[in-house]
């Protein structure tokens, strides 16, 4: 067993950290306030490899190992939860299914541009107004094959990046009969006639990450935009979500680290009853808990990433990492606000924003309840 990052991973961490500290973090508060996507920073991410984490080098990606990908997302989370969510979703949810299930032709067609971000990011559209947790029962968006084209009708909700995307990988019902082989993933280019992207949702947090409702009104895409075989959709989605969950875990570790750093800095400076807050045991304990939980969460994230990289089963470990890391981030942010007292509650300090960002992480890409359900089924051996 080896807990050391490799030389390559160290250098990558330093590079991404430096990039985030200069290009992403300084704008986080403003982007949150204005509910604006940090397009300038994202544009600069392509050449670094940050937009092609899972994309093979032959298609212009960075083909990064899973731990290095987690490292990058943690740094982004440290810098700005909203921007990190957009980048995480782009890589883990949109590029991943194309890289995993696409044909050679499909990969050549879409991946190089996505990895460079030259025409925008990617989205994955699973959730619908009628439900997100229960995809098999809930997905109503219908795709019908007519004359070599898929004709798509329906609507999606809460789709990250849709307005800044070039492609939306869309989970559609291709077999009205139902069952586990009724769904398929189809790549829908943004700009397709009949695809309506509604105005960005007004959200509590991750406000730099645009989220949209979509309507598909007789949207036509060529037959070969389907990924894999018809009916593979739900299996592909679950596989993609396993990877996405590791990424959200990493993002949550970054958020917690950022809030803890702020709390530690403040506790050393702020004085009460004649001494710095950092001398008070109640404060020390909150900081000790934060340090412990952040370490624990990062190890869970790295372990799930390590399994993924080794191509071993990691569904349970991904859920464990996501569940623990995201709930941990909420606790750490909550305590960070507590340590800053009134200032913690003020928009003048970053911890309230990080708290709002962290709140999403127990919902998106599978709620905490769904993670517990996945874990419990595996632990109890329930099919």
């Amino acid at each position: 067993m080896d807990f050391e990052l490799s030389d390559e991973q160290h250098r990558w961490q330093e590079t991404v950290h430096e990039f985030c500290a200069r290009e992403v973090r300084p704008l986080a508060a403003e982007m949150d306030e204005r509910q604006e996507y940090n397009a300038a920073a994202v544009r600069k991410m392509g050449p670094l490899g940050l937009l092609g984490l899972n994309v093979p080098e032959q298609y212009g990606g960075a083909e990064i190992d899973a731990i290095s990908a987690a490292i990058a997302i943690e740094e982004l989370g440290w810098a700005d939860g909203g921007t990190a969510l957009s980048v995480s979703a782009h890589n883990g949810l949109a590029c991943a299914p194309i890289a995993l299930f696409g044909t050679e032709q499909q990969k050549v067609r879409w991946l190089p541009k996505l990895a460079l971000g030259s025409e925008g990011l990617g989205s994955l559209a699973l959730t619908e107004p009628g439900g997100g947790s229960d995809l098999m029962g809930g997905v109503q968006t219908r795709a019908e094959l007519t004359n070599g084209e898929w004709i798509i009708n329906g609507s999606k909700a809460w789709i990250t990046n849709a307005s800044v995307a070039s492609q939306i990988v869309t989970l559609c019902r291709t077999d009205p009969g139902g069952g586990s082989r009724a769904l398929s993933l189809i790549v829908v280019p943004v700009g397709s006639a009949g695809l309506h992207i509604h105005p960005a949702e007004k959200k509590m947090g991750v406000r730099a990450s645009p989220t949209h409702a979509l309507t598909f009104e007789k949207v036509r895409v060529p037959e070969d935009h389907l990924l894999g075989a018809p009916g593979d959709g739900i299996y592909q989605t679950l596989e993609v979500l396993d990877g996405g969950r590791v990424s959200i875990g990493a993002l949550a570790v970054g958020l917690a680290r950022s809030a803890a750093e702020e709390a530690i800095r403040y506790a050393k400076e702020r004085r009460a009853f004649g001494e710095p807050l950092s001398q008070k045991q109640a404060i020390q304990w909150m900081i000790a808990d934060a340090a412990t939980e952040i370490e624990a969460a990062r190890l869970l994230v790295y372990r799930a990433a390590w399994l993924k990289q080794a191509e071993l089963p990691f569904t349970k470990e991904a859920s464990i990492a996501k569940l623990f890391a995201t709930e941990m981030a909420e606790r750490v942010c909550r305590n960070a606000i507590q340590i800053l007292g009134g200032y913690g509650y003020s928009a003048e300090y970053p911890v309230e924003r990080i708290y709002r960002d962290a709140r999403l992480m127990t919902i998106g890409e599978g709620t905490s309840e769904i993670q517990r359900l996945v874990i419990a089924r595996r632990v109890l051996g329930i099919e």
Partner: protein, 260 residues
């Protein structure tokens, strides 16, 4: 076009210098690629992207300096060489420039050699011009733009950023160019570059390898290193009813302190 970029490893700009046991010391401050040299590397890469060829990063320094060269490789340099020898331990600029010039002469003959404006630690800013002199090539320093570069005619025109303004100078290749930060915006290393850099085996050349033999005596020595005396700063707020009263009180205080 063969391009060389000379890079130094320095402490980062946040490091503080102190004197420990009569030696200048930065303590255990983080070591980085000299921040000014990022601009030199970027310019070398931009030139290669426009003209073709390869970029070799060259550094004289201790073992740890390999890390700065890896950073240059991660940014996109094709090759790197570290000049490393115990004889360079107390080197002054004259020795370093001799070694760098000798190193450059051992490489595939370059058309352009880039330098940073200065190293953030010793900060003499003389290395580019000294190496140019030793090679017998034009020295174009404080360069903020390269409006013309003609590889076939072997000419170069640069804009130098001086206190008085911009000066436009033309010269012949091969030439030595030291750059200022106005010239470009350095890129971040890519993951692909980092992967290449971490695998790279960087060749090490000794003094003998670059053809320097015998005594390599610095002309300068540092017989004694002293920390400047600490000056105590006391802050005094001058208050008053309005601006002119405050100004009057300030003048009185300054006269009293014999500042004016």
């Amino acid at each position: 076009m063969n391009i060389v970029v000379c890079v130094k490893q320095t402490t980062d700009t946040a490091a503080t210098l102190s004197v420990v046991d009569g030696e200048a010391s930065y303590g255990d401050a983080a070591l980085v690629l000299n921040p000014w040299d990022e601009y030199a590397v970027e310019q070398a890469l931009l030139t290669k992207e426009a003209e073709g060829g390869k970029v070799t990063a060259l550094c004289l320094g201790p073992d740890s300096a390999e890390d700065a060269l890896k950073q240059a490789l991660a940014m996109g340099c094709d090759e790197a060489v570290l000049i490393l020898d115990a004889v360079f331990e107390s080197a002054d600029t004259l020795v370093v420039s001799r070694a760098l010039a000798a190193g450059i002469e051992k490489l595939d003959p370059p058309e352009l050699v880039f330098f940073g404006k200065s190293a953030v630690d010793s900060d003499t800013g003389v290395m580019g011009p000294q190496v140019a002199r030793r090679l017998g090539w034009p020295s174009l320093n404080l360069v903020a733009a390269i409006p013309e570069l003609d590889a076939s005619a072997k000419t170069i025109t640069v804009e130098r950023l001086l206190e008085e303004g911009r000066q436009i100078v033309s010269g012949r290749l091969p030439a030595v160019v030291s750059v200022v930060k106005e010239i470009n915006e350095p890129r971040y290393p890519s993951f692909m570059g980092i992967r290449k850099a971490s695998k790279a085996e960087i060749p090490r050349w000794s003094a003998a390898d670059v053809g320097l033999s015998g005594q390599i005596q610095p002309a300068l020595s540092w017989p004694e290193i002293l920390a400047p005396e600490k000056s105590e700063a006391v802050c005094e707020l001058i208050e008053g009813g309005d601006a002119s009263e405050i100004a009057r009180k300030l003048v009185d205080r300054l006269v009293e302190e014999k500042v004016i």
